[in-house]
Structure formats: structure tokens, C-alpha cells
């Protein structure tokens, strides 16, 4: 099973600076936290993640076919 993963801004470096990657899940269902692990992305680098346009927590389950976007941590405003 695969998901489409889009990484914003500085997070792109975790996918060889690609905007959008097709990710094969190691096992399904898997959680967003596990997906972060798969890409070695520390949770501290993330503001929020959307799954099919909805903001989801790290324990959200993925079954394949989802579109995931990860937004980086920002500060100051």
C-alpha cells in the first residue's frame, strides 16, 4: 500500500528535496508517527500534518491511498 506524501519548506530535505513522494508503507495500518520515523523526521520539526486535507494527530492510522501533507514548525510570526 502506498500514500502520497508532500513535505513543505525545510522538511523537503528528508525526501531528497522532492516536493511530493509516493511512499510504500512498511505495514498497514500504520500511524503518522511511524511514517515520521520511516523518514527520520523529528516530531519537533512539525507544526501539523493533514491527511486528505484534515489536520490529524500523530496517532492517526493510515491504510494506504491517503494524501498526506507535513507542515514545518515556525516561530515568531
Amino acid at each position: 500500500m502506498t500514500v502520497k506524501l508532500q513535505l513543505k519548506g525545510p522538511l523537503k530535505k528528508y525526501a531528497n528535496n522532492k516536493d511530493l513522494v509516493e511512499v510504500k508503507l512498511e505495514a498497514t495500518p500504520c500511524t503518522l508517527a511511524e511514517l515520521l520515523q520511516q523518514f527520520n523526521i523529528p516530531a519537533s520539526a512539525i507544526s501539523f500534518i493533514t491527511v486528505n486535507e484534515q489536520k490529524k494527530g500523530l496517532d492517526a492510522a493510515l491504510n494506504g491511498g491517503e494524501a498526506i501533507v507535513m507542515y514545518p514548525r515556525v516561530a515568531g510570526g
Partner: protein
């Protein structure tokens, strides 16, 4: 090292410049920057003065870490009574001015009175001169800086453009062309004093007992805590990164805050800006370099920042990046605050489209949009009205319910209906609607705290306001997300005594309450802490915030809780107990 112990006091009426000792007791209680400049103004300004009269004072204040190798320590506080709001006003400006002032031997400059001819102030170590600015008056801040550099060589300059000369309540001060003390009409304070610019050059170093050990400790902190994952957005993208986050969470102000998403955001987001970015530029001692120098066929500018994009692009319905860049450059040169300018133009656009008053400009009208900085700064044609800001326009022509301001300061780039704590942050910000006193959107709309409840929000906003008050007093840059504990660790090294996080939180509270007391003395109370009606009554219609508003009764409850936790009474006045607890 932490303080030079000297304040330069310049009286423009008499032409006299004198040095005096820094008030040590105040420095201990307020650190520097924001806090200390507010303290000086609170003690020295008569209540009720006209901010544009010679009785107002302009304070340039460094902090204990300024000029050292502490990362992100390059900022300067610029403070006065605000011409826009009548409240206390402190701005934070980057670039390289603050360290030069410290190297010239001063912690602060206090500028008083009014010159009868246009002048600029030149500080060259112990030599302090007022020089004629006759040939610069009427010129933009950019040419002014270049002219001064032609004459004086390597100096750092802060200057005003035509907007400041013409006393606009949205005029700012620029340094190194593209960095600003932006809000509340701080540029008009200089303009009212006939002060075109301040230039500085310093050659005195800051000594520390064991400076190699200190540097090594700070380099370790820089590597472990500054150049880290949660700060690298500033280097890789800068503030335009926030466009995508705001769009996704439905808090990107669009068409005068009628919506929280902008269909064409991808034309003006970080990816779009990156495509024309030529170089990254940092303030003094900053490893993060949030400044992005952009060049296109038609314009060049350092920017645009997120706030400029939010207020001048989506909020004006302008999706042409080239136009936004050029507008940004013009504002920086004329010295217009892009937040207030964009917000005001968007209001005029809605008024025109609704047929309430014809300002001759509509959403998305690029040609008229690009004429506005000049018209407003020179108070010509329709610009004469627009130059006075959104509150003035609403008083004169109507539309008060969608005049997006608090205390007459235009609201910046986060929609309060999609981030309720931002509403409280705007309502209780000391200088009117400001996102820098607290930026809870980061943990609420962009984090995992529910944006659509008031629960826990008062405490959240207070904690952030106190923390930022310390940050802006030390002065650390806002973009380094460092903890209070880390600030305490660094200040312990710099002040050579043990500073605790608790002590800093108390200082932050004290600074914030003193700012409140300044405003209280000027007649501000609970009635001034309200938000525009649109936020309470008009539901947003798109994206993640579709159907959302911030109900008035919920806001009032949140505000009451805020006062209670702050130790202020139901009318928002600092209680006697609170004053006693903070030595106020």
C-alpha cells in the same frame, strides 16, 4: 559587557547632547530593550501629551546581550508614545544598528524636543553631531541611507521616508533599506521632530572576563539550540513559509478579512518567493538569516515577509507576485508599515465594492494598488484619506463593523475567528492589534490546541506575552524559539550572576503590566480591548474555518479570565496588589 552604563540624551530643540548614567535599578528590573524603554517613557512623559508634539520622546534601547556573540542578539527597541494609538509603543528593528550603538559606548539614546530644521543625528563614539538633512528631506529612506553612506562611509543608518515626514500614523523607520521598526507610526515621531535619520559607528569593544570560555559555551548553545530543526524554516524559507500554514488552517486574511483562505495563494507563497530569491541576509549575530533578497526583471527588495503577503496580497485580492514585491519595495522606501497600509487599502476596496464610499479601488486592481504607497505617503488624492488608517476612514465614511483594528492599530495577518487566542492576543496587546506580543496561532491553529474554544486560552496568551516581553527586553529575536530556561542560562553567562527562569517570568509580567499602566494613565480600559464586530458576527465561508466566528460572549469571558489571571480588575486596571507584587 552587558551594559555600557551610559545613556546618550539628545535634545533637538537646544541641539545639546549629553551622556548620563544608565539607571541601574531599572536595568535590573526591566533588563533593556522593550522593558527599559517603556520604563524611561513611563517616568519621563507627561500623561496626555500629543505624540507628535515636541513633548514626546524617542528612545533607542539596546539590551544586555546586544553586541555580544549571543545568537540572534542584533535587535534594537525603538519606543515612544504612539501617534497611531495614543498607547505606549515599542518596535523592534533588526539589521546592524543596535550593536554599533553599543560599540559607540551607549546602552540607549533618548531623543527629545524638536529641531527647527531637518537634521540627522550622527553618533561616532564620543562625537555626537546634528547635521543638516535639508537635501534629504522629501526623499525616500533608501536614497537617504545612500546619501549618508556617501558622506560618512561605513555607518549604519535608520531613516524615515516621506510617510514619516508627513506624519502618517502608519509610518515606519527603515534600516539597511528593508528592515523596519514598523508599527504604530514610530516614523512620524521622527518626522515630527524634523529628524530624518540617525547614523551610528562604534569602535569600542565589549570585554568579558573569560571571553573564550563564554564564546565556547555560546557556540555550543548555537549548535544545539539555534541551528536546529524547529528554527531552520527561517533559513530555508523565511516567513513566507507561513502562507501555506495559514491557508491550510483557514486563517489567511483575504479580501479585508471576509475569508480565511485565498484561492491563488500558490502564486505568492514560499515556493513562489523562493523562485525569485537571490540571496539570504541576516541581522547582526544571527545564524538563521530569515531575510530573503529577491530580484526580478522589474524590482528588487528584501522580502516580502509573511505579513506583507497576508495583508497586501490575499487581503487586497492581489495575486501578482511582482506587484506585491514592488509594493513592498515602495512601502520600505516611503516608510509605510505594510500591515497597516495593506489592511487600510483592503478596507477601502470593500467600501468601494459595497457601494458605501467610492475610493476608486477594488480587490485585485493591481494598477491602483501600486499607486497607493506614493499617494498615501504624500497625502495626495484618495491617498490623503487612506494615509490616516482604517479607524479614521470608518469614522468618516462608515463601515466600522469591518474596520479591522484594535485601539486604532490595523490587525495583522492571522484571522482570529480561526484562532481564538489570537483574538485575545490582539485585544490585550499593549500597542493595539499586534501579533508579536503573543503568537498563540503557532500552538493553536498550527498546533494541537483546539482553536475554537476559550478554555485555557487566557493563560496561554499571558504566558506568551510575558515570555516575549523578556525576549524583546534582552533583546533576542522573536524567530529563535528558545525557552525561558535557555534565556536564563544565556543571561546568567552575560550578566555574570545567576538568573532564573522564574525571575525572567516576573520581569516579563512586570514589563507587560507597566505597559498596561502607561495605557491606563492615557485613559485606556476594558472598553478599548474589544475586537471589530466582523470577528463576532460574520461567519467565514471557506476552508478549515468555514462557518466559524468568535462569539462576543465567549470573547468577553476569555477577556475576564485574562484580567483575573493577570491580577487586573474587571475593567482591566492593574490592581494595587499586583502593583505591589511587581514593585510597580
Amino acid at each position: 559587557m552587558a551594559y555600557t552604563g551610559k545613556v546618550l540624551r539628545v535634545n533637538l530643540s537646544t541641539g545639546k547632547a549629553e551622556t548620563e548614567a544608565l539607571n541601574d535599578k531599572w536595568a535590573k528590573e526591566y533588563l533593556g530593550g522593550k522593558g527599559l524603554s517603556i520604563k524611561y517613557l513611563y517616568e519621563e512623559l507627561e500623561p496626555g501629551i500629543d505624540p507628535l508634539s515636541e513633548k514626546n520622546k524617542l528612545v533607542l534601547m539596546t539590551g544586555p546581550i546586544t553586541g555580544t556573540i549571543v545568537p540572534n542578539s542584533g535587535k534594537l527597541a525603538v519606543a515612544a508614545k504612539s501617534p497611531a494609538t495614543g498607547t505606549i509603543l515599542d518596535c523592534s528593528i533588526g539589521g546592524h544598528f543596535a550593536p554599533q550603538l553599543k560599540y559607540a559606548g551607549y546602552d540607549a539614546v533618548i531623543i527629545e524636543g524638536k529641531s527647527n530644521i531637518p537634521v540627522y543625528l550622527f553618533i561616532d563614539d564620543d562625537r555626537v553631531e546634528l547635521r543638516s538633512a535639508a537635501d534629504m528631506w522629501g526623499k525616500g529612506a533608501h536614497e537617504t541611507e545612500h546619501m549618508i553612506s556617501d558622506r560618512l562611509g561605513e555607518v549604519v543608518t535608520m531613516a524615515i521616508g516621506q510617510a514619516g515626514e508627513n506624519l502618517l500614523p502608519m509610518s515606519c523607520i527603515s534600516t539597511e533599506l528593508y528592515r523596519q521598526a514598523g508599527r504604530g507610526g514610530i516614523g512620524a515621531v521622527m518626522g515630527s521632530k524634523n529628524l530624518k535619520a540617525v547614523s551610528v559607528r562604534g569602535s569600542k569593544g565589549l570585554k568579558a572576563p573569560d571571553i573564550r570560555k563564554l564564546s565556547a559555551a555560546l557556540n555550543k548553545i548555537k549548535k544545539e539550540d539555534t541551528l536546529t530543526e524547529d528554527n531552520m524554516w527561517a533559513y530555508s524559507d523565511g516567513t513566507p513559509m507561513i502562507v501555506d500554514l495559514s491557508q491550510q488552517t483557514g486563517i489567511l486574511p483575504t479580501r479585508n478579512f471576509q475569508e480565511g483562505t485565498f484561492d491563488e495563494f500558490e502564486k505568492v507563497n514560499s515556493e513562489a518567493v523562493k523562485a525569485v530569491t537571490k540571496a539570504k541576509k541576516a541581522c547582526f549575530a544571527c545564524p538563521l538569516a530569515c531575510g530573503k533578497y529577491v530580484e526580478t526583471g522589474t524590482t528588487r527588495v528584501e522580502g516580502p515577509e509573511y505579513e506583507t503577503i497576508a495583508l497586501c496580497s490575499s487581503n487586497c485580492g492581489i495575486s501578482d507576485l511582482e506587484a506585491v514585491l514592488e509594493f513592498n519595495r515602495l512601502c520600505d522606501d516611503y516608510c509605510l508599515d505594510t500591515i497597516s497600509a495593506g489592511n487600510t487599502i483592503a478596507f477601502a476596496m470593500e467600501m468601494t465594492e459595497k457601494g458605501i464610499h467610492d475610493f476608486g479601488i477594488r480587490f485585485g486592481d493591481v494598477e491602483k494598488f501600486l499607486q497607493m504607497p506614493e499617494l498615501m505617503s504624500n497625502k495626495e488624492g484618495v491617498g490623503a484619506d487612506l494615509s490616516q488608517g482604517v479607524s479614521y476612514l470608518a469614522d468618516k465614511y462608515g463601515g466600522k463593523e469591518f474596520a479591522m483594528q484594535v485601539k486604532k492599530l490595523e490587525i495583522p495577518g492571522y484571522e482570529a475567528r480561526g484562532s481564538w487566542s489570537m483574538g485575545l492576543a490582539y485585544g490585550t496587546a499593549d500597542r493595539g492589534a499586534c501579533h508579536l506580543r503573543a503568537w498563540p496561532a503557532a500552538v493553536e491553529a498550527f498546533g494541537d490546541i483546539d482553536p475554537f474554544t476559550i478554555e485555557g486560552k487566557a493563560e496561554l496568551v499571558i504566558d506568551m506575552q510575558n515570555d516575549n516581553s523578556v525576549k524583546f527586553s534582552a533583546i533576542f529575536c522573536d524567530f529563535w524559539a528558545l525557552s525561558t530556561e535557555r534565556m536564563a542560562e544565556i543571561l546568567s553567562l552575560i550578566l555574570e550572576r545567576e538568573v532564573t527562569a522564574e525571575e525572567l517570568t516576573t520581569i516579563g509580567d512586570r514589563v507587560y503590566c507597566l505597559a498596561r499602566l502607561f495605557n491606563e494613565r492615557e485613559g485606556f480600559t476594558r472598553k478599548d480591548d474589544g475586537l471589530p464586530e466582523r470577528i463576532h458576527k460574520d461567519e467565514l465561508t471557506t476552508g478549515a474555518t468555514k462557518g466559524k466566528l468568535l462569539p462576543k460572549d465567549e470573547y468577553d469571558k476569555m477577556l475576564s479570565e485574562y484580567y483575573k489571571i493577570r491580577g487586573w480588575d474587571e475593567d482591566g486596571k492593574v490592581t494595587a496588589d499586583k502593583k505591589a507584587a511587581l514593585n510597580l
